[in-house]
């Protein structure tokens, strides 16, 4: 039976690096998706994601299980990403050369969900509309849409109440709908 996150954390706190590697294996993809969504830049996102795991490793002894491990990890990653986003001067969603070997080749026959012209225009408008959101509003949209996290978990990650999560989501969706009304 697979060990729980908390069991792995305890083993890590006892000095077992292999346990931390297992945690990285479980969550690195999820963290990367969220951070790429926040930053729009894969290279920066990988740096931020690795930094998040590094900081989690450094602070693992102080983690007492008050929240779930993934909530705690997401919190670290989102905070670094939001700080990074505030400093970001590059164009959003500009795809650079990927780090060698880090990205597995995409299935070439996978359908691009934005393949037709109408959808490509929607994608461009979506990108522009998302980038007009503040980092905090972008974060709630991504955590809800991509990860399907509950308001409670999102609040724990962002350090705010469920009510705040609800109102930020409502505001962000309203803004996106206003900008994309012709396409939706």
């Amino acid at each position: 039976m697979e060990p729980s996150d908390w069991e792995l954390v305890q083993r890590c706190q006892a000095g077992e690096t292999g346990a931390f590697q297992e945690l990285v294996s479980r969550y690195h993809q999820k963290i990367c998706i969220v951070v790429i969504g926040l930053l729009g830049n894969r290279e920066d996102a990988l740096e931020v994601a690795q930094e998040a795991f590094f900081r989690a490793y450094r602070k693992i002894k102080s983690f007492q299980g008050g929240s779930s491990f993934y909530t705690w990890l997401y919190r670290i990653a989102v905070n670094i990403a939001i700080d990074s986003q505030r400093r970001q001067k590059r164009n959003p969603l500009e795809f650079r050369e990927t780090m060698d070997g880090l990205f597995e080749e995409q299935n070439e026959v996978a359908r691009d969900p934005f393949s037709d012209v109408h959808d490509r225009e929607l994608r461009e408008k979506l990108v522009a509309a998302i980038n007009d959101l503040t980092p905090e509003h972008k974060a709630v949209i991504i955590l809800r849409t991509v990860e399907g996290l509950s308001y409670k978990d999102i609040g724990a990650i962002l350090g705010c109440s469920e009510g705040t999560v609800m109102s930020r989501l409502h505001y962000a969706r309203k803004k996106l709908q206003e900008k994309l009304s012709a396409f939706l």
Partner: protein, 177 residues
């Protein structure tokens, strides 16, 4: 929660599954009978699926091995607390130039009021210690100050005669400076 305006405000929460069962049922029933609100529901669902597709399309699979190697490298580097502070300071420094006005004013005012403290601070750069008195009780003693590290060293030479020390300790007590 019966009119269309209320329903529209709660659609997002309803789609997220965060409403109570009772409230969710009220909305479901309303949508069955209201084409306008149902249209808004479809819009919101399309927004949700477009966003999800966009984020997932931009996120290829990340290979674990090289990612883990990157994390290990950071752990191995054991970034020092100084680097942590430097990064924090760097992030604090980033920002529009205008935002510096107030903090800069605080520092300037304090500097003007505390000139004397700053001057005294400048004089305390060395680690010199002054030996005011020394009694080695018949032993030879050397005293020297080293410029590079500003260290004061008092060295006691081991006297062979009349000492009551363990025979296991040898006489290699002279530093070879």
């Amino acid at each position: 929660m019966r009119n269309c305006e209320d329903i529209a405000e709660s659609l997002g929460v309803w789609l997220d599954g965060e409403l109570s069962l009772a409230d969710a049922e009220v909305i479901r029933l309303h949508l069955e009978g209201c084409a306008q609100c149902d249209g808004k529901r479809r819009q919101l669902e399309k927004l949700h699926s477009s966003l999800k597709s966009l984020f997932e399309a931009n996120s290829p699979r990340v290979a674990l091995e090289p990612f883990w190697r990157g994390v290990q490298e950071r752990i191995a580097e054991r970034r020092t607390w100084r680097q942590g502070i430097t990064e924090w300071v760097r992030s604090a420094l980033a920002g529009p130039a205008g935002a510096w006005a107030v903090p800069a004013a605080i520092v300037i005012v304090l500097a003007i009021l505390s000139v004397d403290s700053f001057r005294k601070l400048a004089t305390q750069r060395n680690n010199f210690a002054a030996v005011e008195s020394i009694d080695a009780h018949g032993r030879n003693v050397a005293l020297w100050r080293e410029d590079e590290t500003k260290t004061t060293v008092i060295w006691l030479y081991h006297n062979q005669e009349g000492e009551n020390e363990s025979s296991e300790e040898n006489t290699e007590t002279r530093p070879s400076f």
